[in-house]
Amino acid sequence: MSHSGLLKKLLLIVVGMFAFAFALVPLYDVFCDVTGLNGKPSLDVAAKSEKVEASRTVDVSFTTHSQRNAPFEVKSRQYSVNVQPGEMAEVKFSAKNLSAQSRVMQAVPSVSPGKAAKYLHKMACFCFDQQSFSANQEVEFTLVFYVDTELPEEIKELTLSYTVFDISEATANNTVLAKQKAG
């Protein structure tokens, strides 16, 4: 083969591998979606639970923390609830804007252990939408959820964690909204 012919082929590999590095980003998301590995629960409103499995119970704990300088305090009223798979549960959260300006908040849920993520169904959640707060406003949110009856037997407790972000500036130019839709 001529030098330039081989050179072109090798350069093609280089360009291909550079593109592959970026292709890893969507591939990673697809892989995590399929396997439910990284604890990202669905942001869609779930259908109502159809049956209850009374033979066992699962502990569901709640934790929240505000990211970086997000001026919000979000707390669940209960530390944890004990539910049967399929049983509907309601948990109240109080949320407060600590700043003296109106802000927009987005909560991002995450479930641990990661593989329990796809078994936690939310019918109502403040994380479905961006939440606007006026200065120092305090709001009560209700989370309605149930744990799937398909939840593997060995999982006896799981944690639903919310990370709270201040997206006031981002909503001003609408970038996060677009990203959320795309994601």
């Binding site: 090798l10 280089v14 990203k179």
Partner: protein, 527 residues
Amino acid sequence: MSTVAQTEQNHHEHHAAKGFKRWLYTTNHKDIGSLYLIFSLTMFLIGGAMAMVIRAELFQPGLQLVDPHFFNQMTTVHGLIMVFGAVMPAFTGLANWMVPMMIGAPDMALPRMNNWSFWILPFAFAILLLSLFMEGGGPAFGWTFYAPLSTTYSNDNTALFVFAVHIMGISSIMGAINVIVTIVNLRAPGMTWMKLPLFVWTWLITAFLLIAVMPVLAGAVTMVLTDKYFGTSFFDAAGGGDPVMFQHIFWFFGHPEVYIMILPAFGIISTIIPTFSRKKLFGYASMVYATSSIALLSFIVWAHHMFTTGMPLAGELFFMYATMLISVPTGVKVFNWVATMWRGSISFEVPMLFAIAFIVLFTLGGFSGLMLAITPADFQYHDTYFVVAHFHYVLVTGAIFSIMAAAYYWLPKWTGHMYNEALAKWHFWLSLISVNVLFFPMHFVGLAGMPRRIPDYALQFADFNALISIGGFAFGLSQLLFVAVVYKCIKGGEQAPSKVWDGAEGLEWDIPSPAPYHTFSTPPEVK
């Protein structure tokens, strides 16, 4: 014959310009090989000086000499310099010098690109090193630049780190392409694939690894750049990204990278051991296949660096078994080296001393690697000095020792002079003893729980750390002997014959010492 000599002479005058321009404009593989090797030695000393700063700070518990932020810059830049500035350019330099001579080619296939791939390197490292003197300092997030350390929590000089890594990557990709084209297209008639010297084989495979993974590294640093400066969120959960994904992308590059730094070493050892055992290499074909399997396996083991990130059990088991599988082809290689020495008439010249030390100590590093591969055990070893001990055994007593062995083996061919044997032996023995004083106790402090990359430590580690630092200073000073040996060897010494070692085989020993500026202008016949 005389006309051939005449044209060679004209060529010589035409190409070898004098002074600085000779080196700046050179397209000669031997010149560029020398440039790479000298550059690598310089970087080795600079990176080594940084290691001295680290060991001086860790000589005693508490904060003594440097502030923690500067300490972090030292660990980061030490790693970057040694990986991209010392080990990789040294191997590229050896490839430049030796590959054309070993396959009977007149030069590298793409000589102008060769010049370019070397001359962008000093700029990359100037950018990296000078960023240390900027306000806020240089990169301080470890050579692995994990997000969010390199994105959210790094300073504005991170762009300089990113551009430096881009340039290093482009340089090694060009170097690798050149090696592949040279080996595929310029082999002398009769030099079939299974007659290639093993150094050439291992470099060919390394070159393919390089063009496969250096672009992925370029992608990773580009994502860090855009996350930090242009508002993307590849690794930021706030925008839908994932910091763990950084580690997947980085180690997808990073694990093949560690084989990039060891496969050419395997080639060097496979060249030196037969020479001084005065026997043919045992199991040539199995060496080729073992090297290829190591290269292929290197793509499916990356997540063993990430056992503690919360992978599912199935993933941990897969990466554990895949990692352990690599010890099979590696074991084949070690077995073949030992079998080559078995019943050979061995003599212990300095290259052979380094090669034997390589086999023993690299294998030791391989064993600690196996320990780290055991997922449940890794939870204890992760991010401790045990890891530091492991990768310094495979990289210092592995890669660096093989480079030293290669330098002593081919120095007489390059310079035309024998090196000073007594001084070289001093260099070997001092290095061998001090390197073990330096790295062996790190296993113990690591197992006892001393974390890496921290400028201070708990009091119970004090004695071991003082010992480690003494070993470190001794090893660092010993390398000055190497500089002295090389300098003296270039300046003069006993005239070396064309076949420097009586047991050596290969085309490079058919040409006079020092190797003339142009060799194999007419290809040799290989039988």
